[in-house]
Symmetry: D2
Subunit: 328 residues, 4 copies
């Protein structure tokens, strides 16, 4: 299903080239100050303004259609909707028969028996992460004392990536990258053992972002190369602060009060103008395909704010759940 | 909550040193042949028999208490229960005040206000993965045409790890490792865009396994260093087979018919006999702690069959969901 | 939460006097022919056109904002939205302090700490049943071989109710009523034992309709006065047809192939112009209240099509679930 | 599915003549005092000890297998299990081919393709209400300040029912009845508009009890015969107390602080020794069937404590949800 969460529940909808896209949020407490302007900052951070991102410019103006009254959340479901305006659907009709490699075209045709909206990736489009960012803004308001930050760690394997990015654009190619997100000020005790572990929730949401191929917490894959005596984070005081943070702020699925740290591996953009030889379902032959359209050369550059959004969504849900922990 | 899944729904329960542990499975179709012997092979694969694993020997005998009649599943909920027998709880009472670094002791005390069962990690124990393996056995039966395999890729950073493992045991230390799982024969179309992506489901379950700090699909973190022209898997025929498999068998959250491949980063065992200096909640001082008990030197060695189990659980749920895709 | 369903999942949103209201439907199979005109018939049946219903006239024009492409459902979430136009919010400001008896005003103020949208009942408004009717239209399309029908059985205790209704209007009063719904052509086997019984699902949805105070299936409350030898429906042939239908087409929570029959008890409209003495939260005194606004004299007259909608929603969910019953 | 609840989540399992039956409870807060003796009172109230109830005597001894440590709930899932001992399964084998009228035999055979456990009704058995009673005991502990009471209102249409019950037993027949449940001390604000209305939750659970054919709140079906000026409950003071309680303590799906009142219509026991002519699936003829076994003449006599249990479960879930209502 296109929904996630127990107590802070988000349901995503829409298509890249349809009327609109957005998110329905259920379980947001009453009494949170919220206006349409509150979304500007994070939506702007997601915008393709930097070098190496798409030329499609959408207004990305959120409309709060329900759940807010006199400037405050009411406790009723909140519908955030974005109209689609700047659409060039004719770019996409060829992909109905000639599925783009790395894209969902092929699986969508098969799964939905050809009924899928193939324009701009339809419901599979990365454009829907705009809705996730909007939900993240509300989640951050629920967690007003926490601090979320994120950054691009590397692009195409380079920390200093300007040159490699230029070259990729010149050669009509694309690049992957790694994004790191941190959350400070997390209270002790969010999350559950097993299926509602904080890592489970964040990872679940992370892989909902198109293009994510890996996630790691704290030392992550490097932990697999370590000894216990190196890895274990020794507790140094009554607040549970630890000398190191190899666990990334989580033990047994539960926040331990230290900074939560995770990194996402973002694959290179699938759409490249360079010609690729791939199967054409109509001609039943392998044929060259050059994807024109308007695309990011490196989607990792736009993922930072989305990483914060999913962390905020996961932690909001855990925070609202946590109110039921003990009776005394 | 301690439950996962839409149509193949598992609910885990139990403690390491309580009466029993197990799993309740709801949504398993009727008509699947199932006996208690069917669990033997995978339970045996999880057993700590190899060099570098714990000395605690449990019978691990599954009891099917409901949902099976005359050797077949009935469509009613299936309760699989394991009694705990070989318990040495007194080993653990010190950790109530002196939380073990890397363990859930600290967060459990805080979250559950001291009511948590601290014996052997209680409900947080890795012993509960036995229940996940049991659910995996049933999931594999639902997906009888798929082939699951898994292996330890490296331990402590070494592909050939016997020496480093010996040394870790000698020095009362522990080691991390990487486990890879593959699933062949997956039909095209399992999974959903966004929150029920196959990667989301597998990752969600993966981080429910104690000790997992990272997961990657296909090329994973290496994809972040690649160009689109290198990464994209070109479709070569009508069946959707691809020249390469950098995507790990999944596009847009949906299985594309190629082999599903993922890797798990397993941190070193938290419990080590080597003395560690960590905070004592009672004395309010940093004090040395040597964890005796019976522990694996490398839990990665026991994770392979659990990795298969979570893949089978995730894919079973997606498979049962997939029956509703189109009306025609 | 404001959502219901496992496989056909509906999420309701909106307020009576806000921007819009509607419903998000997740899990609708791909390939169902659907246009905005398809909603006309059932929306028209819900309209307050008959004698004894409200003077508020809304266009009630559905907008399909997602999930439909080229005239067919795509398998992606379907957002149906209705704009609010004909709003007279100033009618309602007094109820912020002087809660209307029988209404949700009092509980909404208390539960949401005064942040609730009190205009026209806000999110509690019977106007949101418009969204339920819209979801019902789609559900009926999934169940294209079933026949849904419904009727007003009595108003104010009378089968022939024209006079009593006239009198109620003249005296600025309102009336309750009973509505009966039938579903023919239901396949054997929809529903589950215990918590997903067909009666549980229909009843759950029925009590979501503002004003419903009772539901009964088959002989219902009359069954409590019967003997087993009178009540039991004897099976007369291989198709499972029964001589009588005291069970209302359901045994053990599961459809038995006979007509599903249920009746709803609808309380009289809470809003009456006749003066009522009730507590004023501001003055802290019991004071007279005359509710002007525009209201139905008998909401039961508008419930028939809503009863069909909830039956269709419940049965669609059960139908989609039922695809997983057995493996062979 | 065989599960219900958001924050207080119950999952039922087991069969009448299988190894065991029980319930898994997830979301119960830590720190509630709980022992196996605590179940005695309510289990005893459900026991078939009164005149007109079954001769099958089961020990009904609950075993708490997880989630309780040192006499208190730990916050981890609680498994309550009951062994089946007094089983006479051979009584039931004939019903595999000759489905009992009014029972689930017919639908179970069809739905589960003959794989269902037909002994004693299998998973459909009223015996599983024992598990619901057990969950109710825990729910009542969460709601320790609320008072639950219930009573048999009528049997076979009579308030004074001893004679009619004797006669039914003599003639090998059975009788229906009506049960009323009240809950006092409910805080204002439990429940939600629409799908998590208190009435929706209680009704959902009520129809999970085998044999329930109707439910009504407050004035219920009688409300359908009333005028608004009669029905509306006028608020008399700041605490929200009302002059009358026609709404049964609930407005807009939310508790208003007054006593919650509901009534259940219980059909007569389906199993009667009197010969009934019904279809035999094997001989393909209508044939006489006399059900021997051990059965209640009137199951309504055993429903009272179950009615309290479902009210407690529904209200516990709403109570735990309610902690998230507002941020301030």
């Amino acid at each position: 299903m296109n929904a996630w969460g127990h107590n802070f529940r988000i349901s995503i909808f829409g298509e890249s080239h349809g009327r609109s896209l957005g998110i329905l949020i259920d379980g947001c407490p009453a009494g949170i100050r919220l206006s349409e302007e509150d979304f500007n900052e994070d939506i702007d951070r997601r915008r393709p303004k930097v070098f190496g991102t798409t030329a499609r410019k959408e207004e990305d103006k959120p409309s709060i259609n329900s759940g807010v009254f006199n400037g405050f959340t009411t406790g009723a479901p909140i519908l955030i909707e974005f109209q689609n305006n700047n659409i060039k659907s004719k770019d996409y009709q060829q992909f109905k028969d000639h599925p783009r490699p790395g894209h969902a075209d092929w699986v969508a045709i098969k799964k939905f028996k050809g009924y899928n909206d193939y324009r701009g990736g339809g419901h599979f489009s990365g454009r829907l992460t705009l809705a996730i960012v909007a939900a993240g803004v509300i989640a951050k308001k629920i967690l007003s004392t926490l601090e979320f930050s994120s950054k691009v760690v590397s692009v195409g394997g380079y920390i200093d990536y300007e040159n490699i990015l230029k070259k990729a654009i010149q050669t009509q190619d694309s690049l992957g990258g790694i994004v790191q997100c941190e959350v400070q000020g997390v209270p002790i005790g969010l999350g559950e053992p097993f299926f509602d572990a904080i890592e489970s929730s964040i990872a679940h949401l992370a892989f909902s972002i198109p293009g994510i191929k890996g996630i790691e917490f704290g030392s992550g894959f490097e932990a697999a190369n370590m000894k216990g005596s190196e890895f274990n984070d020794l507790i140094v005081n009554e607040k549970g602060e630890t000398e190191t943070n190899h666990s990334g702020g989580i033990n047994g699925g539960i926040s331990n009060g230290n900074t939560i740290v995770f990194r996402l591996a973002v694959r290179p953009t699938s759409s490249i103008a360079q010609t690729q030889s791939t199967f054409n379902l109509k001609t039943k032959k392998v044929e060259g395909l050059s994807i024109q359209g308007r695309h990011d050369a490196c989607i990792a550059l736009r993922v930072s704010v989305i990483a914060e959004a999913i962390a905020a969504i996961a932690l909001s849900d855990a925070y609202l759940n946590s109110k039921n922990e003990s009776i005394s």
